[in-house]
Symmetry: C2
Subunit: 345 residues, 2 copies
Amino acid sequence: MASTNPGVAVPTIYDVAQLARVSPATVSRVINERGNVDAGMAQRVQEAITALGYRPNSLARSLRRQMAPVWTLIISDIENPHFTSLIRGVEDAAQAIDHSVVLCNADEDLTKERRYIEVAIAERAAGVVISPASDRHSSVDPLLASGIPVVTIDRRLRNSPVSAVLVDNTSGAQCATAHLLESGYSRVACITGPMRTSTAVQRLGGYRRALKRAGAPYDPRLVRVSDYKEAGGYEATGTLLAADERPDALFVLNSLMTMGALRCIADAGVRIPDQMGVVGFDDHLWAQLLRPTLSTVAQPTYDLGRTAAQLLIEQAESPDTAPRTVTLATELLVRESSVRTAAPR
Amino acid sequence: MASTNPGVAVPTIYDVAQLARVSPATVSRVINERGNVDAGMAQRVQEAITALGYRPNSLARSLRRQMAPVWTLIISDIENPHFTSLIRGVEDAAQAIDHSVVLCNADEDLTKERRYIEVAIAERAAGVVISPASDRHSSVDPLLASGIPVVTIDRRLRNSPVSAVLVDNTSGAQCATAHLLESGYSRVACITGPMRTSTAVQRLGGYRRALKRAGAPYDPRLVRVSDYKEAGGYEATGTLLAADERPDALFVLNSLMTMGALRCIADAGVRIPDQMGVVGFDDHLWAQLLRPTLSTVAQPTYDLGRTAAQLLIEQAESPDTAPRTVTLATELLVRESSVRTAAPR
DNA sequence: GTGAAAGCGCTAACAC
DNA sequence: GTGTTAGCGCTTTCAC
């Protein structure tokens, strides 16, 4: 029915100009509210626009302006709920300045990541926000070479001079670990994510620092490197529970793995918090619905996105400013899963 | 440092042509793998592309082709985890055919929705996937008039002839309600979402149908219309618990409200499942971590997105095909929260 | 099989 | 203040 309109051409700025008896330039001025246009003329233009149902072609506009009002948001794993409200933070900021957000799921895959960066360049994006799959492969260099503002989010890059928005992973992890030690747990295990991500490196660093400060030995047998996914958390926890000297507490470095860990602990019939203290990174609504309620390290995810957008705007306005790193605070939320109620075992 | 390169112009297809000593048309043919190009020439072109670091300007390409390889995905609430894997389903499909996804959060707001639709038209999007904020205001009409393929997802529109991908909300809700009744609960309450959404209408319909089939009376005092948000679920549950004749079971029509309901029930010290049976719409990983584990109606969210993408591709290929509605099955997952272990009270 | 040239729709000099 | 015009970078007839 109302599908394609074969004969009816989409009206252009020339059609509007003709109908309003002005030049295309004037129409353009009216649309973009640039320059002074006679009120009567502007009126006629508006009427012509309405009459024709004219909508500016932003492809043509962007081509002419050499820049599309688009931010490319490259996320390492969309399905990770941590990124959901971060995305929203970026999206809200984009909307405020009439930019669109192109969402790209790199899936922790460097090849996909690189392809999306190519797309961003090809589309002449106004900026790119990226949570890099790896802290070494600075796949963002082509962006810098193209003069496209870049901000890394959640994770940082080692060798590229780009702005970054991070949370204080080290201190978050340190607090969590210290808290477990102070609660009387002595063998605190840690399940970390891929060591090519700065978050895993920093959080593990915080864990180690807390051990050191507490005078506790660092025991590599209590550490499992996993993949930031639920199944990975389950499996890693399984090997910890099966180990000769079982840990009495567990610090899990993201929420998906935490869910896996909790599932495994439940399957094994181990009681939280008495037989096993647990703290997870990332806070979510369900954390307080669990019994015992789950202690977490909360991150300001929405602000992470919003701040990234700010840095992007900053850079677009003054491209020669040096890159900036903004670090947002984390907060340890102590709930029941990390506080013993009785003696262990 | 490597920020904008003021002097260095971005290479165009003409630069490549010049260096490879061929015409721009030939370069275009090589890039797009169209037409037959002499192998030697193609070789030279490839080398020139590499040498110059040339990347096609997709703005120019799309302008010329009158169409951007972009799908606009308008979601009514990004923060609702239900939509996360749906987004991923669309994104994966888009990636497979080299399309980008522009993510728009309409926030259940018709004005925002309409604005995003304008953007989609202005950008000459290749297609739009939308979960409409309202089933009446068919803000998609301008899209149809522009000949842009549209698919609604999760929700349907009443008066617009567009393809849709839905889940079988009615039967999902009916199963859940019937299950609660069969488990021996007699006063089954229901917390629904905004009645301008087809999901709320259909699920409430399923609830009523189950009551009818079981010979149970429909009591409006057991129904609360809320907003699909956590706080809304909390509040609605509060009013139900405060009512004269308290319900003994609760069916909540999405997961955010379910979390609110569970929090309220916990705060009130009401025991699940003995004093209150609970089933929630939408399954998530945390549902099985709760104690008691939470019964849910699971939806194939990823497939919802993937199917929407398929319909979009279908329509793009044959625009004159009549719109199609695909309904995917839901599944009732019976866990502990809806099965009594002892007598109530 | 290859090239020349027009033009997609818009904006921004520039001239008036 | 307004109009004329060139051109953003690409694809695609059309001619050879």
